[in-house]
């Protein structure tokens, strides 16, 4: 019965230790990972992995399905602590998953401000929802939202926390092509405005090149390749440079295209 309802309490000392750990990060990188290893049984999904993300940097993480991208992101989100190695990560961070994971029993705006300290601030929630373009959906149940709207609400819920680090786990993977394009440009726009560091896990090479400052390719539990995207924004998918980067990254992912 491992539903995750019951879990071990953190002792106050552990909590304080944790805070100290997080305070050390301030002023330096948003993410600093050294020698991170995660095993599931005998299998090492992450092997001695190193990762740095600068404040305000947009990093995309590519990799074949099952290679450990979500595992890494869950560790950075402090959802998985059965690890070895050092993981320093911004204390103010927010996560958006592939599924929106809105609480179905809370109206959309309640979902947005859930967990914020202090009173439930409706104006704050509305402002965040306006920013992602669904201010008019504040007072409905999550069940009536379309897939794209729900994902926007989930983004609003992440951004309202004013994070230094935004962790996105394939947030557009379940959206239809048209909605996905809109959501991608929304994320680009929001990132320009908020200037938080972003780690975007994706399996869409074009999406990674469109959005990121730096693209990482994960393979066999390590970051096998790193590609800095020097193109100016907004980026043109049809340009020659884009095509070259894409072919190169696809090569690293084991996909070889003709010509």
């Amino acid at each position: 019965m491992a539903t995750g309802v019951q879990w071990n309490l953190i002792t106050p000392e552990q909590a304080r230790e944790h805070q100290v750990q997080q305070r050390q990060v301030r002023g330096a990188q948003a993410v600093r990972v050294r020698g991170l290893t995660r095993r599931f049984g005998e299998r090492e999904v992450l092997k001695d992995l190193d990762l740095d993300i600068a404040p305000g940097e947009f990093v995309a993480l590519l990799g074949a399905s099952g290679c450990g991208k979500s595992t890494l992101l869950r560790i950075l989100a402090n959802l998985d602590r059965e690890i070895s190695g050092t993981v320093d990560v911004a204390a103010r961070r927010a996560v958006a998953f592939q599924a929106p994971r809105l609480m179905p029993w809370k109206k959309v705006w309640h979902n947005v401000v859930l967990g914020l300290p202090g009173r439930q601030d409706r104006t704050k929630a509305i402002a965040a929802l306006e920013e992602v373009g669904i201010g008019h959906r504040a007072d409905v149940w999550p069940k009536v939202l379309s897939g794209g709207e729900a994902q926007r609400a989930s983004l609003a819920r992440a951004l309202v926390r004013e994070p230094d680090l935004l962790l996105l786990d394939e947030p557009f993977a379940a959206l239809d092509a048209l909605t996905r394009i809109k959501a991608q440009s929304l994320v680009a726009e929001l990132w320009q405005r908020h200037r938080c560091a972003v780690l975007l896990v994706t399996h869409d090479v074009e999406e990674a090149i469109l959005l990121a400052d730096r693209v990482l390719v994960m393979k066999d539990g390590v970051l096998a390749h790193e590609e800095t995207i020097a193109m100016s924004r907004p980026r043109n998918v049809a340009s020659a440079q884009f095509g070259r980067i894409r072919a190169n990254l696809l090569g690293w992912l084991g996909v070889h295209q003709p010509h």
């Binding site: 402090n78 998953f97 609480m103 029993w105 859930l114 069940k143």
Partner: protein
């Protein structure tokens, strides 16, 4: 990438084209078998639904009435509807019926309140704390297999023949369905939502309040329904124990004097009280579970 898609598209195109060549043309020559899809509004036209639903019970009462008027159904076996209505009016006029109803309803509610709070409290302890689960769950799973009615002799020995054994019987009966359902509800809360709650920085208490308890609510209400059903059953059994007030008492008295009309009145009252309580739970569900995607009651 776009090239791949194009290839797939033409492949599908070819399959589709060859299909129409082989089967499509012969079907088209004979005309295609079609059916008309009826709009919902058309299929429910005619007699209103409530009228159709009411016709069954009305027919039963009618047959019952005819049978007793013609003497086919003797009064000693079962009084006719007319007699039942008049004796109900009598009982209401003297205030006997209201008082009996009140006493019975109170018994059921007090029993439910006691049993329900015990069941819910134990479920919270077992669902939220590992220690609680280890201590409580096995015991509850063992005890729940004992039929409540089989406990009546013990309850009489422990509590005598006053109000206490009746209420204890109801409390015992209602505690288990609530325990089982609330516990299952807590254990089955979507773990991805719990994770999401943790990434939002919810404390343990906030997580329980904002995520786990609302998530367990649908199951809890199912438990409440079962409990109410059992409370009613336990009430009927309990009131057979030397009652001095309540519907059961009214019934026991009627039995002494072969007043089948009064017995029928009491049965109807049991049924009506049950319906009323069920209606209350339905309303509660409508209000509390309107967020549910599966819920279409409103």
């Amino acid at each position: 990438m776009t090239d791949d898609i194009a290839v797939i598209n033409t492949a599908f195109g070819q399959v589709a084209a060859s299909n129409t060549g082989a089967i499509g043309t012969s079907a088209r020559r004979q005309g295609i078998l079609r059916e008309r899809i009826k709009p919902v509004s058309a299929s429910t036209k005619g007699v209103p639904r409530w009228l159709r639903r009411a016709s069954g019970p009305v027919l039963v009462v009618l047959v019952w009435h005819l049978a007793s008027v013609t003497g086919l159904l003797p009064k000693e076996v079962l009084a006719g509807p007319a007699t039942v209505v008049s004796s109900a009016a009598n009982l209401i006029a003297t205030g006997e019926l209201q008082q009996a109803m009140w006493v019975s309803l109170m018994r059921a509610l007090v029993g439910l309140a006691i049993g329900g709070s015990v069941g819910v409290t134990l479920a919270l302890c077992a669902g939220l704390f590992r220690l609680g689960e280890d201590l409580i769950d096995a015991t509850m799973q063992m005890l729940r297999t004992v039929p409540n009615v089989a406990l009546i002799p013990l309850l009489i020995i422990w509590f005598g023949i006053g109000e206490a054994p009746k209420i204890a019987l109801i409390a015992l009966g209602t505690a288990f369905p609530l325990y089982l359902n609330v516990y299952a509800g807590i254990r089955n809360v979507d773990s991805t939502l719990i994770e999401a709650g943790r990434t939002l920085g919810l404390s343990r208490a906030a997580l329980i309040w904002h995520v786990i308890l609302p998530g367990a609510l649908p199951n809890a209400l199912v438990g409440l329904r079962y409990s109410l059903g059992i409370a009613w059953l336990a009430l009927v059994f309990g009131e057979q124990i030397n009652a001095t007030a309540g519907i059961g008492y009214l019934m026991a008295n009627a039995r002494e004097f072969f007043q089948t009309d009064v017995i029928v009145v009491c049965l109807v009252v049991y049924a009506l009280l049950g319906l009323a309580v069920d209606f209350t739970v339905r309303t509660l569900e409508k209000v509390l579970l309107s967020w549910r995607p599966a819920f279409n009651g409103t």
